[in-house]
Structures are given as C-alpha cells and as structure tokens.
Symmetry: C2
Subunit: 350 residues, 2 copies
C-alpha cells in the first residue's frame, strides 16, 4: 500500500478539466449510431456545444450550426470534441488533417476514444508546435492521493446499481437537474468518459490505480458549502465479478449521504456474464448501505431508479408503483419524470 504516488515536490492533484465550450467533431460519420457522443453532448450539455464540424463526406448532423474551427474559436469555442466512435475506437486517417487544422486554429482536442491522441504523430507534432493540449478523458490526472476517509462538508448522492450500463449516469444527471430546478446548489460529478465530456470535468474512475481509487473519489467531490449537493455518477456494481473494485473505492471515497439504486427491470444476469444472476434490489441496497456506512454512518437509500425504456408507459407506471410498495421507498424512471420522479427527489432531500 502506498503513502502517495507523487513525490513531495509533485503538484497537487486535481480532476480533469476540459476546455469548453466545444465544437463537436463528426468525422466521416454517415450513421447516427456512431455519433452517440455528439448527440449525448447536444442533449445533456447544450450550453457547452456551439457548433459541429466534420469531413465533407459526413452526413450525420446534430442540428447545430456547421462551423470551421476558426469560426468556432471566434464564437468562443476552446475545445474540439471527437463526437464519434468507430469500431475499435481509433482515429480515422481521414480525420487527421481536420484535427490538425483545429489545433492550428487554436483549439485543444478532447477525446474519449480508447486510442491516445498523442499516438497520431502528425497530431502530436501540431499540438507541440501550436502549444495546444491533446486531452484523453480516459487518462486520470497525475498525483492522485490515497484516500483519507476524513469527513467533508456538503452533501453527496451516489447512484449505484445492480449492474453496469443500466442508467447510473443519466439518473445522476437527471437528479442534479431536478435539484437545481428546485433552487439547490448542485453539481453532477462525472466518473466515466461520456459523463466527463458532458460536465466538462471529472475523474475516469475505472482507469485509476486501485490503491488510489478511494482517493480519486475524494478528489472528485471535495468539501463544499453545507447545503451543496454533489450528485455522483456511479460505476459498475459491488456484485460485478470484474468491476466491483471500482464500485467499492467510489462508494468509500464518495461518502454518500444518499444512494439511489439503479436497475433495469427484466435483466436477469450480469451483462456479458450469464452465469452471474443479478442481485435483488433489496440485496443491492443492503450491501451498499453496509459498506457505505464505513465512511458515512448516516448513509441511507433515497429510492430506486428503474430504466423502463423497453416498456409501454402504462406498464412502466404500474411497475414503479409495485416496486415502490414492495420496497417501501420511491421508485421512478428519471427519463419519464412525472410524480414518481418528484417523490424520488423529495425522498433524496428528506
């Protein structure tokens, strides 16, 4: 176990901070499915997106004005975000001259792809020549300290789940929005690449070295005013055979006052692990509270977030009512909103 991963002379760590607003880059996309990141940014961070740009062959559009990097810079853009993902998560050869043009115009480049931006020699050279940054949001910041477990001021909510990929990010975004709409000071705290692009900052928790996982979560939601809420995007699941270490460090380091448990009704087993049955909601609540109590004895469950995208509205409402009655806490689908979601927000703030 390490005392620190930096030397005494190392600068203090901070979360990744992205250059905003963005120009969204669509590459050569001709199918909307490949431009999911761009659409997510348009929908969840419209205030950070001032335009789109791409190869002449691109046919996908977000509906934002098409701007060259120079035009975007004049309108305030500071970063070009790669808004597409192709198979393999690599940088297309046809994109490179355009990315170099953006760097030369004065924009930093931001990417959530697997491949590192600096692995493209022309791009690396252009960034060095122009003094611009190439930012891979999957790369954690340097010098993350170990966790301290010390209590921090302010309030925290963490979305947890019965599995990966069932709505922890969108639940946290929706709750942060709802808190703000009620006049509360609240920040969405991103822990994965898409969330980090949306919020303009965050911590890629799954890429942090295990010894520093709790410390990274502490860094992500620092001490704040007593009435302020950090609404933290959860990762993985304590029951996941591959990723529970991420969930554990995030839970300990976040010290949540409230958890909201996310679930997709009908999912029977862990995604990609058919031999692992999904834990029940009651079991998921219980284990998260038991472990979370270690760093915040006052932790409680605010309610359940159900991803009901596959259900008809009436069936979804009936299921929410059933689950809420069965577990004795609010159950809502944040994407559907409505009275159920308002009750979930009431419960989180109670």
């Amino acid at each position: 176990m390490n005392d620190s991963n930096g030397s005494a002379a190392a600068p203090a760590a901070s979360v990744t901070q992205l250059p905003t607003p963005y120009l969204l880059f669509l590459g050569d996309a001709t199918e909307a499915g490949y431009a999911k990141t761009a659409f997510g940014l348009r929908d969840w961070a419209p205030e950070r997106c001032i335009g789109e740009w791409g190869c002449d062959t691109a046919t996908v559009t977000t509906g934002l004005p098409r701007l060259t990097p120079k035009q975007a810079l004049v309108r305030g853009a500071r970063g070009l975000v790669i808004g597409i993902a192709n198979t393999g998560g690599v940088i297309g050869a046809s994109w490179v001259p355009l990315l170099v043009e953006a760097v030369e115009a004065g924009l930093d480049i931001v990417s959530g792809l697997h491949v590192k931006l600096a692995s493209v020699p022309q791009l690396k050279a252009a960034a060095e020549r122009c003094g611009r940054r190439l930012i891979d949001v999957r790369t954690p910041p340097p010098n993350i300290p170990c966790g301290t477990g010390e209590k921090r001021s302010g309030k925290r909510l963490l979305t947890v789940g019965t599995d990966c990929a069932l709505g922890k990010k969108y639940t946290a975004l929706a709750i942060a929005r709802a808190f703000k709409s009620r006049g509360l000071a609240a920040d969405f705290r991103a822990t994965g690449q898409t969330g980090i692009l949306i919020s303009g900052s965050g911590m890629p928790m799954d890429a942090v070295v295990s010894d520093f996982e709790a410390g990274a979560a502490e860094l992500l939601s620092p001490a704040a005013a007593p009435g302020h809420w950090d609404v933290i995007e959860g990762q993985g699941s304590l029951f996941h055979p591959a990723y529970a270490a991420v969930s554990m460090g995030l839970l300990h380091g976040s010290q949540p006052d409230v958890i909201v448990v996310c679930h997709q009704p009908g999912r029977q087993s862990v995604m990609g692990h058919p031999d692992f049955p999904l834990p029940s909601l009651a079991e998921t609540i219980d284990l998260n509270l038991r472990i979370g109590r270690r760093t915040n004895p006052a932790i409680r469950c605010g309610g359940i977030s159900l991803n009901t995208a596959h259900l008809e509205p009436a069936a979804a409402r009936e299921l929410m009512a059933q689950e809420s009655a069965r577990l004795g806490i609010p159950a809502a689908d944040p994407m559907r909103g409505g009275a159920e979601f308002e009750r979930l927000i009431d419960s989180c703030l109670a």
Copy 2:
C-alpha cells in the same frame, strides 16, 4: 468499463517473473533496519539467495557469502535484488556504479523501491547496452485482462485482515509451507513487492488499474490440478477507507475456497486512520464471506491468524484459546507454530 486494456494483437498477459537465484545488494547500509528486504529474502527464500554484495562502506550482513556479480553469476545467480530501502525509497548515488557493474557482469536488476530503476540514466544505458532487464516489482505486467468470474480448477486460500500490515503475507507463507510439509502441492501467490521478491513471481495488486483488479487476481492463481492449493497473500482490508478497492478485487478474483482472517490483538483503529475503529473479527469474517460468495459460493473461514509478537508466550496461548472458543474456529499465531497452528491447518484442509 473496459473490455480489455490491450488490443487484439497484444501478447497474452502473465504475472511478473523474476530472474532467480538472487545476489542480495546491501548498498551502503550500516543499520540492519534498512536491510529488511534482504533479511526477509534470506529467511523466507533461502533457496533463491546465493550471496550478498554492497559498497565497501556497508557494515550490515545477512551472513551469506560475499560475492562479486561475476562470482555470483558463475554460481548461478541471474538477478541482483536491491535488498535495502533508504528514506524516500530512492537509489543512492553511491550504488549506481555497482549496479552498472552487475548489469555488465550479466545480471538483471530487481527493485521494490518506489523510484523506477530506468529513471537512473547510467543504469538505463547500461541495461540497453548489455541487453539486461531492469525490473520494478511495483510495476504490473502489461495487458492484464478484465475479470471473467469463471470458475477455475484447483483450491485457493486467501489471507484477509482487519487492517493493513498485521501479518497477511507471513500467514500465507507459513500456511503454504505447512501445506507442503504435509505433502500437498501448494504455491504461495504474492500480491505485494516483498512477497513477489520472496516467491520470485506475483502481481503487485495495489498498482493495478481498478478496472483490471479482479482480472489481475484471476491471472495470479490460474486453473490448476484439483488437489493443488494456491495460498494467496491478502492486501488491505474491506474496511479500509483508502485501500478497500484492492481487497475487493483480490477477493472476487481469487475465488477463495477458504479465507484465514489476520488480526493484531490490541490494535484499536486502522493504522494511520485513528478515527476508524478496527472492525471486529466476526464482522470481518462475515463481510468477507458475503462478498466472496459472489464468485465462490462454497467459501468458508478456516480460522484466525493472530499476530502476537508483542505478547509473552503464555499470554499469547491464552489469547488464542479464548478467541478460538469465542468464535468457534481455530486461532493461531503462525510465527509461533505449535498445536494451535496445526489445528488451523487441519481446519483449512477439512
């Protein structure tokens, strides 16, 4: 969450394998306290240590023959292990010419220090020139896969604990020795730098990226013959505010059939975290079994390992008897051996 941290073309991952036997390097040590690594290797891996070497000013000795790198090579040595740690874990300037001499003689250099060997320019150049390896045992191997959760053949025992630094490594070493002395096929599986140096291979679990923590543990104890035991060195504690992510991934990935819970009687709070009371033994057993059941439903607790180094023999024996009666399982101090330890081994093998 990642599918893999390597591309399709990346070579398969394997645990760190060290060049053995060793020549132990004592640097310029004049106090035995700084040579703990060398003494640990002499005591726990005598078959891997063929001699010692150091600056002319060194006064500490392990009692092994003093050999130059050339002499050691002739006698079979393949690696020089830095057996000392100074304040800050750095490489002393006076060591550098001797390390270069070892490289030129044909030895690889092995270090468990914080600083990387290749950060010393003369050493890096010598290694490149001579085609020798500079091995930092704190650096994980590349291309560790994500965990699969798939059941592996063979039997596994994991030492867990109420805290860090209370005997998980020595308990695992002693149990592996006892298994072998009973004629069983058994391997000690190291998870920290000292253990890796002792066993000549292993996985530095605290330095692995969180997303791959369980996968690293799976790699460390691969499928084996049905009667074979892997005795795995535990790390941290599920109750540790900084390091629980390491313990979580190690527990899930190890899929232990048996856990042995390590504790230091009298320790009241987590080391370095006085505000965190130590969990009880019963609580530690219960949470480890609950979480471990996820990847091995047959997991059970074999007994308790008590670090009684600070007690008189009679007091230690009385405490073991009390704790064993209270918890209904064997309690022993592996460093003291005796009938208590034999009962603990019986219970692990039951």
